[in-house]
Symmetry: C2
Subunit: 498 residues, 2 copies
């Protein structure tokens, strides 16, 4: 069996998980070319929360980042996380908007779309998979791992078969909460590999200290590629560090080759960026968050929740609200907890505790109960569904939700034109998801957020690339200065930061 390959997530999930998605394009640019030369199977550079956060907190236009990163790292395939019919927003969008978003992304350099649905409803991945392939990119269909009485190895393998039948180029096992035990990882990957003939990739988090072992088990079961990041934007709530994975795989017949010295250099370059984002960094002193294991929810949901309960003056209700989460999940058909369902279930659990169970139902929770997010893993509780139908004044549906949404691009374009904003496809698709943020971006009277600008440490690579060993040539390096002697002639060189 061939060596496993690594995807590097540091420019997307690494800082999303460990620094609240606050790394700016400017900070990434000196790192990207080095990563590009390391032989990763993919660089995850875009998608997930980066588009929302970039607009909201950094004043960056999403496609500008993609352009810049693609230019800085043209060799390695770029990869993005896409929430299927939710794109990178929090609700379902029209098929033509999804198609346009994917087409634009490919045009700007995206190569691999990792497509998931928060309910694991394959119908919500259909349009994205088709559009990605039509645009000449790879479509990876994703299984969101979760624990519940209706989820097991067989059900995940069955979902994998459906995803493969939709024409996906690979299947990704996505463990957003870092909860898969190694033995189950092995069983799922092994089951998938026997059931389908496309590669199986793995994405996990080390939140509860299981991530690295999960990856090893998956590699032993034949996973084609796994996601790693680079410290300090690694481990903890992020992906296991690349150097650490290399050490763990030493002696494993599938151990890949990556340049450890170069990784140490990239770590050193990333360090000042990490420190500059200290207000947002989330490594905990305790290293491993065993509460994740206890409550079986993603770490991000836990920390958001503590904040929200505090804001509501409900801090003393933490245990009660968390005990309510499985109640809500069960009533809503044991849906996984991943953006946006993690928020929806969390808020509903809080409401149930605050006002009494199902006394106050959020429109989002009602939409899940009524089928407007898609098919749930188990049937929705009929009483809760009936209650939601009454309260919201609408009927349950069973069709693919996007079938009820009329095409949106022309409407978006008209709205933008009316506001005097650009009307190209790129602006339309971002406007569909983040209208207010985009209007703010173009409003000269709105104060602009300031992106962090702390630079990475200078790359030693810019020095190392000088061939100091050539005959008749010598170099003395002192800090960022170098005295270069070629054929007897001396040149004083200052190595600039990239």
């Amino acid at each position: 069996m061939k060596p496993v390959t690594f995807n590097c997530t540091v420019l997307r999930d690494g800082h999303q998980s460990l620094a609240a998605t606050r790394m700016s394009t400017e900070q990434m640019l000196p790192i990207a070319p080095i990563l590009d030369g390391m032989g990763f199977s993919a660089l995850e550079t875009w998608g997930g929360a980066t588009i929302d956060a970039g607009l909201r907190f950094l004043g960056e236009l999403p496609f500008d980042r993609l352009d810049a990163l693609k230019k800085a790292a043209p060799k390695t395939p770029h990869m993005m996380l896409l929430r299927g019919q939710n794109m990178v927003g929090y609700t379902n969008y029209a098929d033509d908007v999804v198609e346009a978003f994917i087409k634009c992304s490919v045009k700007h350099g995206m190569n691999i779309f990792r497509i998931f649905d928060c309910l694991n409803d394959p119908r919500n991945m259909e349009t994205s998979i088709r559009a990605a392939k039509a645009a000449g990119a790879q479509a990876h269909g994703t299984i969101c791992y979760t624990t519940s009485p209706v989820h097991n190895v067989e059900s995940f393998v069955e979902l994998g078969k459906q995803i493969a039948a939709m024409g996906a180029d690979a299947i990704v096992l996505k463990d957003m909460a870092g909860l898969i035990p190694p033995s189950e990882t092995f069983a799922i990957v092994d089951g998938l590999r026997k059931a389908v003939d496309i590669p199986v990739w793995i994405h996990t988090h080390d939140t509860a200290g299981l991530g690295a072992s999960t990856l090893i088990a998956g590699i032993d079961a034949g996973a084609g590629a796994v996601d790693v990041s680079i410290a300090p934007f690694a481990n903890g709530t992020g992906q296991p560090d690349c150097l650490r994975m290399l050490a763990l795989l030493k002696g494993n017949p599938r151990c890949p080759e990556y340049d450890a010295e170069k990784l140490v250099e990239v770590q050193a370059m990333l360090q000042p960026i990490y420190e500059s984002l200290s207000k947002f960094t989330s490594h905990k002193n305790e290293v491993v968050d065993s509460d994740t294991l206890r409550y079986q929810v993603p770490g991000g949901m836990l920390s958001n929740f503590r904040t929200q309960l505090q804001e509501q003056g409900m801090s003393d209700k933490f245990d009660e609200v968390f005990a309510e989460i499985p109640v809500v999940r069960k009533a809503l058909g044991w849906i996984p907890l991943v953006t946006p369902t993690s928020q929806i279930v969390g808020v509903q659990a809080m409401m149930n505790v605050k006002f009494g169970r199902w006394k106050n139902i959020t429109p989002q929770a009602a939409d899940i109960a009524l089928g407007y997010y898609g098919h749930t893993p188990a049937p929705v509780d009929p009483d809760v569904q009936k209650l939601c139908a009454e309260k919201m004044g609408k009927e349950p549906i069973t069709c693919r939700p996007a079938d009820l949404i009329k095409p949106g691009m022309e409407d978006l374009r008209a709205k933008l034109a009316a506001k005097g904003l650009p009307t190209d496809d790129e602006t339309c698709v971002i406007y569909a998801m983040f209208p207010q943020q985009l209007e703010d971006y173009y409003n000269p009277n709105k104060p602009k957020p300031e992106a962090p600008t702390a630079k990475p440490a200078p790359a030693p690579a810019s020095i190392a690339s000088i061939p100091v060993t050539t005959a008749g040539c010598s170099a003395i390096i002192n800090g960022n200065k170098m005295t270069l002697n070629i054929g007897g002639q001396t040149h004083e060189i200052v190595v600039q930061e990239l």
Copy 2:
């Protein structure tokens, strides 16, 4: 194959690795009985650095701690780490002193002696193994894992055979730096299990994020027991957390059963102790110390070293000194790095950089080169050995070093008597290792160190044990107060901290 069992290290290596050995007996006592009821195969409660640190920093007499912990946890076997002929000191001691130390320890309740030698020289474990068995305790012989050109799976298995032939009750694979890759762990444990018919146990650290995976690989290869700790005194530079290991082993046919809810309670009890020791706690923000992988030395050695180099005004020489470590190790016969060799090699590397290679040799390094610590894994560099012999004015030896040490107990007793101190065996053996600290302890004019006294959080168990569900009986719990109604009569009860 039977389920693996866990040894709990929180009362010894847990706080030694993560809080500079500062947990006091007073802080441990409320926790010990709970641990005692959890079914661990052993509680590591004593030995290692705890005796030195207890005397030096906490003003505690070592055997008093053992007595107290044994009384608090009488059911589970107590285990200690013993440096073979070095006992819990830093040099070789006479056989009669080692024998007396072990006899006293057994008398005060010690059940399992985990015996290692810093050079992996089995002759330095002989007396301890014999004495432990003679006193009716278990003797576990230990293999110190290290990386070098002369260490490999075969050499470790060969050492295991020698240890088994000496009558050890078990073999422990001790990975003090947290460097064993899982595949090598599997190979060593598997090799040992095929070569010997005594149990193989594993001890590691999660410093570089490998520890948990190492334990899983060892369990898959048939390890009988593995060391875990309890958060927050777990993970990072300590042993993997017990709850985390349970999650990792879910679905593994050898997964043991431990009460997860009780573990959560113990974590909550430990939290205020951990916080009270914040001056000493050593979890790093970066979670995983990949420098350990880079330099292949124990994490504790790295942090000590940074401090020592700073004190010497040599902080800028860090890389140079670290590059010198393999040079020193090679010259000294590729000795493992573990107390006390880690200090000896580190200091010599610093000297070599500061004064020129081998210009200035410490007496300890010279003693290693001359055989006074025992047989080295590879031959000592003959030039370095010659230099050491000249500088120290003594000849190399090849016998078991303790054969040259004359019995010591009567001399120790006479010295103590002359100073008016107690002359029992317990005082003699501690005086052998820590004369100054013991004199200070008994000197009324010396200021006594203050042991930390922050109490553990009250054990919820003390409330939960009231049968609140009995008919005709109700209880309302509010903080540490309880209103108990039995047969219509109300009792106000205050639940005291243990």
